[in-house]
């Protein structure tokens, strides 16, 4: 993958993360508004930061920067961890039953699917969200830990591990996709080279034939010039060897279904066989 493609991919991933962050915290903020009559300031701050990052990334989308994308992705993760820490701290101390760290679990799965490359960014992001939840759990007093609905921190750690495996699988798929694209590009280049070779061969065979006959006739008519004619014959032999070398690529050449193959047109099209034209004898 080229540097440009890598930057493009990283930018798309970073943009997706900002959009997911804005949507996720807005929905969670609506929950807070409905259940507690207020939105946490950290949520508003995070949504503001995501919006700025999204604007920056969109402004640079035609000339993306991998560094900016990575920084935006890490900032996104940092803001999510910061916002969720405050929210979970409040929810954990409330008397109602609370299923802990749900947004963290959702976040690590989302990161496994959308985190930008290079790989360390995804791994660091998943570890940061997972370990933040574990760290926060350890800060809870024993009585708070005792009334949590799910066994923690094991559930969060399991989600983190699952997210890392999913992320590794995604990286593997990306690598296979890159290798397939590379192999396809090489095969296309080989086909074009083969077409060029055979077009050259097509163009050279007739003049080569003319020279071969002319040299043969000269040898018969002027045997005293044998030394000169031998040199000409050897030169023709070398050209014939070149012709033979090109013929080995014949199987790779995508000939058009029609007979109207113009070797000059193939050379003008950089080895691509142009579309066949109407057969002048048809009908």
């Amino acid at each position: 993958m080229s540097a440009g493609e890598s930057a493009q991919r990283a930018a798309k991933a970073a943009i997706t993360m900002q959009v997911l962050g804005i949507v996720g915290l807005t929905v969670d903020g609506a929950y807070w508004q409905a259940s507690h009559g207020r939105v946490l300031p950290a949520y508003a701050l995070a949504v503001g930061v995501f919006s700025i990052l999204l604007t920056l990334l969109l402004a640079r989308r035609h000339r993306p920067s991998e560094t900016l994308s990575v920084a935006a992705a890490l900032a996104n993760v940092g803001m999510v961890v910061f916002a969720l820490w405050g929210a979970d701290d409040l929810l954990a101390r409330e008397p109602r039953t609370w299923v802990p760290f749900q947004p963290h679990k959702l976040s690590v799965l989302a990161l496994a699917l959308v985190a930008p490359t290079p790989p360390w960014v995804g791994v660091a992001s998943i570890l940061a969200v997972t370990l933040a939840a574990v760290a926060q759990y350890l800060t809870f007093p024993p009585e708070v830990q005792a009334h949590l609905a799910v066994e923690e921190p094991w559930a969060t750690l399991a989600f983190g591990a699952f997210a890392l495996v999913t992320f590794a699988h995604r990286l593997r798929l990306l690598r296979i996709e890159r290798e397939a694209a590379h192999a396809q590009a090489e095969a296309d280049a080989l086909k074009r080279l083969a077409s060029i070779g055979l077009a050259v061969r097509d163009l050279s065979n007739t003049p080569l034939q003319t020279l071969r006959i002319a040299v043969g006739l000269l040898r018969r008519r002027h045997p005293e010039e044998a030394a000169q004619i031998d040199r000409m014959d050897r030169a023709l032999d070398r050209l014939a060897a070149l012709d033979g070398a090109f013929s080995r690529y014949e199987a790779e050449t995508p000939f058009p279904p029609s007979a109207s193959f113009d070797p000059l047109a193939v050379l003008e099209h950089g080895g691509r066989v142009p579309e066949a034209r109407q057969d002048p004898c048809a009908g």
Binding site: L198, R201, D202, L203, S204, N205, T206, P207, L208, Q209, T210, L211, R212, I213, A214, G216, L217, R220, L236, A240, S247, E250, A251, T253, F255, P256, P257, S258, A259, S260, F261, D262, L264, A265, R277, P280, C281
Partner: protein, 120 residues
């Protein structure tokens, strides 16, 4: 015996005619295109051997078309294709599928030309 030569390269037509005259002491009738061959009419049909270039130029009737014209007009001689195209080229495949006496890859030597003219 007269040999009909059809090739879009005039230099090669001249050289082939000269070689066949020199090697086999035969006269040749040359046509640089399908249309020129058709214009020769009965003269072309009266030849005992036709050596046809498979490719008579892009977007022009090919040697296969010349073969079909000769066959459909009662040509009684042998027909041999000469080609500079690769073996896998569709028009060369067509040439191999005809009842022509042979399809020969350019470039050929004088000895091979003599063999083609003298036949089996």
């Amino acid at each position: 015996m007269t040999v009909l030569l059809v090739d879009d390269d005039r230099d090669l037509l001249d050289m082939l005619g000269e070689a066949i005259g020199h090697l086999c002491n035969l006269a040749c009738l040359s046509a640089p295109s399908y249309d020129a061959m058709v214009a020769l009419g009965g003269q072309a049909l009266g030849c005992q051997l036709a050596i046809l270039d498979v490719n008579l130029g892009p977007d022009r009737p090919s040697g296969i078309d010349a073969y079909r014209w000769l066959s459909s007009h009662g040509f009684q001689g042998r027909i041999v294709f000469l080609t500079g195209h690769a073996r896998g080229h569709p028009v060369v495949e067509q040439a191999h599928s005809t009842d022509a006496a042979g399809v020969v890859q350019k470039p050929v030597s004088l000895e091979q030309i003599r063999t083609i003219v003298e036949g089996p």
